[in-house]
């Protein structure tokens, strides 16, 4: 009994450095993550920024009835899901296609250069890219419309026409991220057991058949995993991109939950309703993420830690 207690104490002492290493991160996480989670209670208050946090008036679900009753709320929710889902699909399929194409390249220098160029947009911020896109997509002076009109196509107002705006968002997002996305699939391809290809060749499979019956099935688990983990992003339509590209004339198809929170909360200083939208989004995302991870664990045996 006594010796057991001594051993536990010794172990506790030996683990002490671990606790000390984690301490700064724990303090910062409590301050900037856990306290804000407690601050979600603002969603149930008629928050007045002038008063102290503890002297606010509780209003129950009023903020939620208010935001769900806003005329545009259903549209904003739909825009968010629509844009996010199309991005998830595009960012799944396009990188796989390009990983397969890159894998067929022989020359190392050419392959390297292509990859370097493809990663480029990933490293640029949406602020800079928005500036570039506003310029090249302009209906009067942008090079994209110049090319289109030289082919006899009428200019398209990519960023100002509500009908084309969501698709512009999706295409430019895939354009920004697909090169980066190929990294993970190229890695999965290099991990494929070479004997599978040898067996396929003996069976008389050409390059195309090898790709179809060896490479693609080998990539399937990674694709399933990323899709399932992507479920949690269904309400994550990309604030940085939308905020820098949208304008009031495309609110009908381009306004998303995050930009709505920004306008209600920061611009109109309605902290209660803005936090309520945030809470709604967090709660739905939470359920989706947890079910996504459960599914990933079941389907692919994947665990984050």
């Amino acid at each position: 009994m006594n010796r057991g207690g001594l051993r536990t104490r010794k172990k506790t002492l030996k683990e002490m450095p671990f606790h000390l290493m984690l301490l700064p991160a724990v303090v910062i996480t409590i301050l900037f993550k856990y306290i804000p989670i407690g601050g979600i209670s603002i969603a149930f208050m008629d928050y007045n920024p002038v008063e102290s946090f503890y002297r606010q008036e509780w209003v129950g679900w009023d903020n939620f009835t208010y935001i769900f009753g806003l005329p545009g709320f259903g549209g904003v929710l739909w825009n968010t899901i629509f844009i996010a889902t199309m991005k998830i699909a595009g960012n799944l399929i396009v990188p796989v296609a390009f990983a397969l194409l890159l894998n067929e390249l022989g020359g190392r220098v050419f392959k390297r250069s292509v990859q370097t160029v493809m990663y480029l947009p990933h490293f640029l911020s949406w602020v800079a890219l928005a500036g570039v896109l506003i310029d090249i997509l302009s209906p009067s002076s942008g090079i994209v419309n110049n090319v289109l009109s030289s082919m006899g196509i009428k200019p398209v107002f990519f960023l100002g026409d509500p009908a084309s705006f969501p698709y512009t968002l999706v295409v430019t997002d895939v354009w920004k991220e697909f090169g980066w996305g190929t990294i993970i699939y190229l890695a999965a391809i290099t991990n494929i057991d070479q004997t599978q290809y040898e067996a396929a060749i003996i069976d008389g499979a050409g390059r195309w058949k090898q790709t179809l019956h060896v490479t693609v099935p080998a990539l399937a688990p990674v694709m399933i995993l990323l899709t399932v983990l992507g479920i949690g992003n269904v309400l994550q339509a990309g604030f940085d991109q939308v905020f820098n590209l949208y304008s009031p004339q495309v609110y009908s198809t381009g306004d998303i939950l995050d930009t709505l929170v920004y306008r209600i909360g920061i611009v109109d200083v309605q902290f209660g309703p803005a936090t309520a939208v945030g809470l709604f989004k967090s709660a739905v995302s939470f359920v989706l993420i947890v079910s996504g991870y459960r599914l990933a664990d079941k389907l692919a045996g994947y665990r984050v830690f």
């Binding site: 450095p17 991160a25 910062i28 804000p36 603002i42 890159l102 002076s141 354009w175 830690f305």
Partner: protein, 295 residues
């Protein structure tokens, strides 16, 4: 492998598709650079494609004559330097204990849950803003660093890398009397340079590119980091706002158009990234793989 005719056709098409795609990734940037170096008349007549016409430095002269550019640049340099130190330090200090097995560190599970919760649930914009405000960090560089100081994505990358290092190396150090901290500093870190380089790249690019925190946590435009300053310009550039006073001081402004000025501004703000990332490519690809392969 035998080269059939169809294979040859495919190879040609493949090279063509990939070359065209690369071109599509580069073309906006090249066009941007060309516009930024071209004069007002050709830009307005829509004549600039991939090469500057009527070469002029007027736009850059305006960008670099503006004192706000240097204020914002120094703010960005400050946040990148401090932010890197804080981020990489915390990443290492969190990843190392959590990379230990449960029999070595009994409370590992508790901490994992503690950090995991923040990955799936967050207070959102307003409550975080109120905390930053309550701590008196508005207009301080720390408001751009502390709220996102613990990044679980980097922690996961480091943690997986640490786990790939053979335990025997550490055991040898421990039996020689080294403590955990010693072992981390003299065994793990020297072996983790590729991962550290990868995480460093992500941190530098992340801090350089961040703009939204500057927009909401800085009340004074003087304190805007470069990307926030760029954001205010990109989304509403109006030459009439430049004012007649600056026009009188700087007659070359007459050569400017909003387009070439905006392009010059964007290029000036992103050029460090364009230069840095290709050189770090071998590190980040390797680091990403090592971090992700062992799930």
């Amino acid at each position: 492998m035998k080269s059939s005719l169809s294979r040859k056709v495919f190879v040609v098409f493949n090279v063509a598709i990939l070359a065209a795609t690369s071109f599509l990734c580069l073309v906006p940037v090249i066009n941007l650079i060309a516009v930024s170096f071209s004069s007002r008349s050709v830009v307005e007549a829509n004549l600039v494609g991939l090469w500057p016409k009527e070469f002029t430095l007027a736009s850059y002269r305006y960008v670099f004559d503006n004192p706000q550019f240097y204020k914002s640049l120094s703010m960005t340099v400050e946040r990148v330097a401090l932010g890197w130190a804080v981020n990489i330090g915390l990443t290492i200090l969190v990843a190392y204990p959590l990379s230990k097995e449960k029999n070595v560190f009994r409370f590992r599970g508790v901490y994992v849950w503690f950090f995991l919760v923040t990955m799936v649930f967050s207070g959102g914009l307003i409550p975080t803003y109120l905390v930053v405000n309550e701590l008196g960090l508005i207009n301080s560089v720390w408001s751009l660093i502390l709220p996102e100081a613990v990044q679980m994505f980097y922690v996961l990358l480091m943690l997986n890398f640490f786990r790939g290092i053979p335990k025997e190396i550490e055991e040898a150090a421990l039996t020689d009397g080294a403590g955990w901290l010693r072992s981390l500093a003299s065994v793990y870190l020297p072996l983790s340079l590729p991962s550290l380089a990868t995480v460093t790249l992500f941190i530098l690019v992340g801090h350089w590119n961040a703009w939204f925190d500057g927009l909401i946590y800085m009340n004074l435009p003087d304190r805007y980091p470069l990307m926030t300053y760029l954001q205010t310009i990109v989304t509403n550039l109006d030459l009439s706002q430049l004012g007649s006073a600056s026009l009188a001081n700087n007659p070359s402004l007459l050569e400017l158009t909003g387009r070439s000025l905006r392009s010059a501004m964007i290029f000036a703000c992103t050029v460090p990234i364009l230069f840095v990332y290709p050189f770090l490519q071998r590190f980040f690809v390797k680091g990403m793989l090592l971090g992700s392969v062992k799930g």
